[in-house]
Symmetry: D2
Subunit: 333 residues, 4 copies
Amino acid sequence: MSELRLFLMKENYENSRLPEQLADSSASYKRLNLYGRDVFVSWPGNLTKDIADQSIESSFLVNRDYVLSSRDWKSTPTKIPVGDVEIGSDSVVIAAGPCSVDFEEGAEEFSKDLKNAGANIIRGGAFKPRTSPFAFQGKGKDGIDILKSMKDETGLPIVSEILDPEHLGYFRDVDILQIGSRNAQNFQLLKKVSTSNKPVLLKRGMGNTYNEWLSTADYVLGEGNGSVILCERGIRTFENGTRFTMDVGSIAKAKEESHLPICADPSHAAGRREMVLPLALASVASGCDMILVEVHPHPETALSDSQQQLTVDGLKILSKQIRSIKKSLVNGL
Amino acid sequence: MSELRLFLMKENYENSRLPEQLADSSASYKRLNLYGRDVFVSWPGNLTKDIADQSIESSFLVNRDYVLSSRDWKSTPTKIPVGDVEIGSDSVVIAAGPCSVDFEEGAEEFSKDLKNAGANIIRGGAFKPRTSPFAFQGKGKDGIDILKSMKDETGLPIVSEILDPEHLGYFRDVDILQIGSRNAQNFQLLKKVSTSNKPVLLKRGMGNTYNEWLSTADYVLGEGNGSVILCERGIRTFENGTRFTMDVGSIAKAKEESHLPICADPSHAAGRREMVLPLALASVASGCDMILVEVHPHPETALSDSQQQLTVDGLKILSKQIRSIKKSLVNGL
Amino acid sequence: MSELRLFLMKENYENSRLPEQLADSSASYKRLNLYGRDVFVSWPGNLTKDIADQSIESSFLVNRDYVLSSRDWKSTPTKIPVGDVEIGSDSVVIAAGPCSVDFEEGAEEFSKDLKNAGANIIRGGAFKPRTSPFAFQGKGKDGIDILKSMKDETGLPIVSEILDPEHLGYFRDVDILQIGSRNAQNFQLLKKVSTSNKPVLLKRGMGNTYNEWLSTADYVLGEGNGSVILCERGIRTFENGTRFTMDVGSIAKAKEESHLPICADPSHAAGRREMVLPLALASVASGCDMILVEVHPHPETALSDSQQQLTVDGLKILSKQIRSIKKSLVNGL
Amino acid sequence: MSELRLFLMKENYENSRLPEQLADSSASYKRLNLYGRDVFVSWPGNLTKDIADQSIESSFLVNRDYVLSSRDWKSTPTKIPVGDVEIGSDSVVIAAGPCSVDFEEGAEEFSKDLKNAGANIIRGGAFKPRTSPFAFQGKGKDGIDILKSMKDETGLPIVSEILDPEHLGYFRDVDILQIGSRNAQNFQLLKKVSTSNKPVLLKRGMGNTYNEWLSTADYVLGEGNGSVILCERGIRTFENGTRFTMDVGSIAKAKEESHLPICADPSHAAGRREMVLPLALASVASGCDMILVEVHPHPETALSDSQQQLTVDGLKILSKQIRSIKKSLVNGL
């Protein structure tokens, strides 16, 4: 655990001596602009404990790995506008679509079905990280093109997983860049992808602690990109009755301790169609702002994750129930 | 994994040759009466595969450890009436009260507060299994007496944990016998407690799989006691941001595969007051029928689990939100 | 975590005012005689911080759940003599025999084979805790009689699992009482079994932490029975390539922090014959004093755990290699 | 799980019709040259089940994710020569050095100490993946230069972790490329690094199953690079008495099922100096061929992992005992 100090600067401050004082100290430091405010992070935090300046609104000593993603310095929730919706607001945003875009025909038609069934965003895998190098690796750039046609048809924004910073060029029309569970601590990818200034959907590594999960967000925020969505997708435990164990406690904790919006991916945790709905409902009840769910026009023939993808009818039920439950939560508060 | 065969007998059947056929086979078998029906379980199941008789309604070969707790032979949900409520019905039953009954004065007053705040059942620990032999072990028989005074005051049924079959005499006025997580696979206790014919609230062992959890219920049902409530209370995982990881996937799976009512204990999974509400809501959203929650008149002075007990005001909010969410689920289905 | 204070008394002390001082304090306390020395444990420990007396050799404040099993007050390793061997000495003690005694004929012959193959103790299950109530539950009292005939034939001591204090009468000729993984936190059983003053082999619960494991030993020691062998048998993790994950780190840590001898059970961790030898070797290399291993005259027909039981020839190889590795460790130190 | 087919070709075969037959089938396929032999992998494996040709030595249908790293097609252990040693032979190879190269002065002297204390290879981190972006990230290219000076001084080969394929240029003099636990499933990195044809030390992801671990090796082998060392470094479990749980069962299993040499990293599993030796010994006893251990000239001032790094004296003891135990194992077999 490192010790950090964060300096939150006043709005429109002038004549600050802080950069100079930090340079004079023996601490390392970084200057960032996040959500329209200047922020300085210095480490180790104790080396700068005596710094005071009228340009500083407040300063925080932090005894854990993450700081930028915490509410210590930003108590108001971060909202991320994408297309017509805002992630982190009072209504649950639903991103739905196939595990991997493994079809070409009917994509436009299917995208309209998704929209009608309640999707606010279209998700789809084009570059797929698979356990075996000999499993279907996705359609690559062609998959992105198909997603783009679905976006054009419906006007909905799209989200897709990126594996390699060299692919950034292909993702020009992709609205949200997804970092998958296997790359959750691929810090080079996180840093390079952040520079695009697109929103980043950051999945928790299946073997990562809560603390590590929030710290990965600091890698994106640390590049000055404040548009991060934290995504819980189930962790590795001894229980294999479901594919992964959806950690609703970490969703609730992240909602309480971080200003970032929280997403849940019930499909990977469930591993099987019938479990997707209850896990989605449990995730919403524990506080998440967004659901990422796999829906396929013909789940039984899907080239990956065929067991866990919903049909469009399944999505309709899920959308309705999720929104009903969220409404009762919002009213109850 | 053993292979079992279950024979469900017709109602009011006569002249069955089944007992005789089973005795003639080289299989072991057991006869039970559950929910008003006769049931025979034989094992290994393949030894009785050729048995047929007009008194048999249906027979099932089962390739896993549990059979009596499954829906294979009983598709309708089991409802357990206690006091004025029914566990397993459309509304969530709330059992609330202190981790351990560590007070004497004010018990009656407190019990009325619990009732007013939404409790249907009063929970309280009298005999406490503690990690260290030198930690507070509960008030024992005196604790039960205090619980009884709370029952007399409010008319609400009471639930308390039993550690030893020799204590059964003390539990005469206790309405539901709780088997704790540490004794989840104490099969001698399970069998002996079942003979009381009181409802048994069966907590999942913190290190037990879903399969083992449902199999422990078979130990109670196997004594002819059909009043079992399965209780998920969080499992041991690498994540220690919460005390245990509430396994909502197993709640959903148990609701789908077992006819028994499901309870959730958000207090032990949370480990800290602030996390109890979201975990309770997530458990209800994933399908549970009952919530067991720790509430104390003065949480800060409690002799055990002081960090995770709610106040009466916290219970009020929880009751209201739980019932609102359940209503939206029931209407949505 | 509780705070405890332990007072170690001088040998042959006289006229101590300690009991009186403890009675005067508002702390709870317990007096024990362990390994020929008087020991007082008080809790919470801070309430007795000012007690001083010339009869006290030393006093310790402990900030964790276990105290009696720690080296805080007893730095010399505890050795437990059983038959001709001493558990906790420089050579590894091997307890070998069937998962459950499921045969009658050939028992004596088999017991001689075990002895010739290197066994110092004969192990065998008579009362078996099984996941399902319809699985083979062991031969019960008859199983103990068969074990006794193996003891008579070979002169080797025997170890067998006890499930219920009511069975203590059957265990009169059993030299070591085994507490199984499922009953690791069945504290009523632990306390009652301890009064027999027989050595207790205490398996770690599959879902229990290191801290909880050592604390279960305090329940036995807390009854004045100092003959406890701690047994690691694999914990529940996400990895299911082996049946359980043998936690060699906890063996090493227990060897360092506890004065009690450590046993390892590679059979249950392995789950399959081929993995038993390397796990046994790893356990010895990490510091254990004893190995508990399943060996069956005809593994393929065993009524329980048939996949993981060794043949007598397998035991021969294991004994030889274990002793060779232990010798190289002892010489190397 | 995918289904694959592997065709192992005869040595110096001629006139094979296999490529043509594969091209005609509707399966995907890949041609590789590994260990001097031609190998074709096709998937899904059932589509090529009727292919027969005199140039094929044998063909295997595989029902799991990994195939190239298995002994199915290569029963002889792979040995990897580096400097004067061979990884995978009868003696344990020791790679020792600092977690991160955080010093400059005294590097040459220290490298001689490491060699004298038994190191065969020098390890050291230059590019460090840290949980927080504000923690020490290693000396980067300068760190590699220091490692090179240690190599020049001692003649020992060096191993260091690579985070980004763009850094490959800096690693020209590094003898073994290490893929860290956080990048264990960063498949883009695995594939690009493999093309260097340097040996790859592949750490298991802390949350990865045995099956996933062996499959990551297939990504390197699948690029035609056969020099892979599998490295177990502890997995994430509920037990936090050690930093990670060293999975000796997976070491034993990998040794049995894979032809690749196995390394163990006891330092990260231990998390604390005192536990490193027993975990190293346990790993060797369970079958590993190589030990990767953190040693620092002044552990207490190290900028990362200061708790778990050995002193040079600690390394001396470890080297001696490891080799003594290995000798007794080799003689015993």
